[in-house]
Symmetry: C2
Subunit: 456 residues, 2 copies
């Protein structure tokens, strides 16, 4: 690849590449991120193969697929072949045509087959997260044979998470043995003598990625074997992939709770148009729903004309409903994610949220009444001759709205899961919008009762 | 411990304990969680020591400290001594008096010293997360000596994350070697011959817990050594502790973004009063700030009286400001957490958010104008003779408010970090409240300009 001339200055990639030799993969990745894809590709083209592989084996390069597409095809193919299969497959998920087909065709047959098999798993599945490189030995081997195998055959592997022992006939997974246990065992004994009493925890390739995270986190595993329904081992999901998936998931969860589609790219790197698109969708949907508030207000026009004083508290009351709803939603999203509550616990949650909401609403209601009373008595503002009734209206409406907000906010994640969506789709703005229209109805309803015959 | 009589039925812990023998620690923990603390303590008292240790070595038992306090002191002390030191210290953090002092006094001197040292580290530090149990060998040893040591001395350890090689004189950390590399090395060569070229990644005990997470995640480590300023090794933070910390952090982040103080306990388990307290604080603070909207509305009373039609769109317009702010805040909270942006990038973010907000506001404004025009033309509602000006007011106000919301929402996490707070303290309700008062001012300001001489 020739050097790039930009702004009249030739970009010389070679010395940059030479300075990177021997650095950690994650640090090379960070370094490449400082450059645009063309410059990064020029640097990578000058790197020794093993250094490039180290860097691309990290999930940290933001525009990895663009860089790969810009590399000379044979360089890219050699790198993709030498990388761990799960990372290679991950890159192919994002690669665009024609690079995708051309590179796939240039991979050696076995790697191509592995990549195609991994690509067949859905994006959020355990299968899509697994690596097909693991140490498996037949259960007929002795410990000495296994150790010899690791010494000789597996010497390129930096970490041996566990040795997986398979049935020599049916080829099914029998046990998982740690290196430490192999070391302490009698070399002439069967490898199974070093195995723990219990069967290893496993996962199916089509199970959710989050389930792999949960199992690895719960049982403190370094890797979890992925097996097909007949018990054959397909690969392992390792703890470092799980950590990457957790970080990604956490970002998506916070972004969605804030009412944005998950960006999938760093904030300063995502295209401006792409970001507008990811934000406009929800914003417009919420705006359209929120238009119902205008319709509701139109319905209460005669009340508004008679008692303008009521309008003063509309923002205050509506925001309180939204805030309490947002609190309840955030609590239940996490409780569902951590499996602290289950779909069938919805009524237990409802039975907690309704009294919680009523108490919280009463607290706010009292503050509201106090505020109106104070302002009236001190003379900051005149709420008219019926000010005690206005204060009562505001207080009572707050109890109703905060209770309703807490209830709706808590039920929304359950409803979403019941309908097959991710409960984390329930965002704070979503809840606020749901609560707003009803909040207005509650407010004017309470006003109609309390102020009937005086202001209304 | 005698059996417990409850509701007239004797609770027989022994058969339950017997059924648990041989189960995985995490599963025993789950099982104990189904019972109240007294019942769980009765079950634990009947468990063989090693089974109890397995379960309590898990972070999964919700009321572990209550159970420990209820156990006979000698049983509890034996268990705390046999557990990994970081978990024991973790339990002591939560134990109440007098159990805390009594149990600490009953621990063997070396364990007590270790626990006291660990407890001295602040709760959010890497030191508080570390375990003091790790394999360290002097650099004068051969590979064969190290392997023999692991076989003989370290045989109780389930996982050897790495072997840490120290300077025999100064006792400082020199290298970290994986078991796999030791296995492939020449047994008679120095242990250093199996070490990688690079120094291990390390962390100081007073650094943030999140930094340990970041380093382990970035460099795909299974454990990170914690060293003091002179290079002596104090312990290791292991990947499973990091995963637990990540889950905890994620829950706190979502809850805080929803406007609740982090619960620290499962939703269905936390006391009702405690939950009210964690929610009421923020809710009241937001309510008090939001009262400024009432004051603002009072200031615009004469405009409201002249043009009631303006009130119809107040909820719609204010919620749009809050929603766009919530989007921007969620994006920046994560971008800061992932270090995609830095404190000094605030102006770059501002330069993205202002045009984004203007475009998003223009989209919503156009929808708003369309809605008013349609309703007027179809005859759903009569916005009066000046309806085109009303529509223009709503549209123009939306541009202003959404731009302002995006800007404030994006700047809030920066401001919080600048002031020394966690940027994740910025919740969706917090942003909405910030934006609401200004939103009203923008709306009535725009109305004053556009409707001057007609409605106002």
């Amino acid at each position: 690849m020739q050097n790039i001339v930009e702004d009249g200055v030739e970009f010389d990639a070679r010395p940059l590449a030479e300075a990177l030799v021997g650095a950690r993969g994650a640090d090379i990745a960070d370094f490449l991120d400082e450059y645009d894809a063309e410059q990064a590709a020029a640097i990578v083209a000058h790197l020794p193969l093993e250094e490039a592989v180290k860097a691309f084996d990290q999930p940290g390069i933001d525009n990895a697929e663009e860089i790969v597409a810009l590399l000379p095809r044979p360089t890219a193919a050699a790198m993709l072949d030498a990388m761990s299969a799960d990372r290679t497959a991950g890159l192919f998920r994002w690669l665009e045509e024609p690079a995708r087909s051309e590179l796939l065709a240039q991979l050696p047959a076995d790697m191509r087959e592995t990549v195609e098999r991994l690509l067949a798993y859905p994006e959020e599945s355990a299968g899509s997260l697994m690596t097909t490189e693991f140490v498996a030995v037949p259960s007929t081997w002795t410990i000495a044979q296994v150790l010899h195998h690791i010494r000789m055959v597996e010497r390129t592997r930096e970490t041996v998470y566990a040795v997986y022992v398979t049935d020599p006939v049916r080829n099914t997974l029998v046990q998982a043995v740690t290196l430490r246990r192999l070391l302490s065992g009698d070399p002439h004994a069967s490898v199974l003598s070093a195995a723990p009493e219990r069967k290893p925890v496993t996962i199916g390739p089509y199970e959710q990625r989050d389930e792999a995270t949960r199992l690895i986190s719960k049982y403190d595993l370094l890797a979890i074997p992925v097996i097909d329904p007949r018990g054959h081992m397909l690969g392992i999901v390792t703890v470092d992939d799980v950590i990457d998936a957790m970080v990604e998931r956490q970002t998506a969860e916070v972004q969605r709770f804030g009412g944005v589609e998950a960006l999938d790219e760093p904030y300063l790197r995502i295209g401006f148009g792409e970001m507008i698109r990811k934000r406009a969708g929800w914003l417009c949907a919420l705006f359209l729903s929120e238009m119902l508030t205008a319709s509701a207000m139109q319905g209460f026009e005669s009340e508004l004309e008679k008692a303008i004083v009521l309008t003063l508290f509309i923002p205050l009351i509506m925001s309180s409903g939204g805030n309490s709803g947002s609190q309840a939603t955030s609590l239940i999203i996490r409780a569902l994610a951590l499996r602290e509550v289950d779909l069938r616990d919805w009524w237990r949650v409802a039975l907690r949220e309704i009294p919680s909401g009523a108490i919280l609403g009463a607290i706010l209601g009292m503050i509201g009444i106090l505020r109106i009373t104070l302002w009236q008595q001190i003379g900051f503002y005149d709420y008219g001759p019926h000010w005690p009734l206005v204060a009562l209206t505001v207080g009572a409406a707050l109890v109703g709205i905060v209770t309703f907000g807490s209830f709706v906010g808590a039920m929304l994640p359950f409803a979403l899961r019941r309908l097959g969506f991710d409960p984390a789709t329930a965002s704070a703005p979503f809840v606020a919008t749901l609560v707003d229209v009803t909040g207005l109805v509650i407010y004017f309803g309470v006003a109609a009762v309390i102020l009937h015959g005086t202001l209304l």
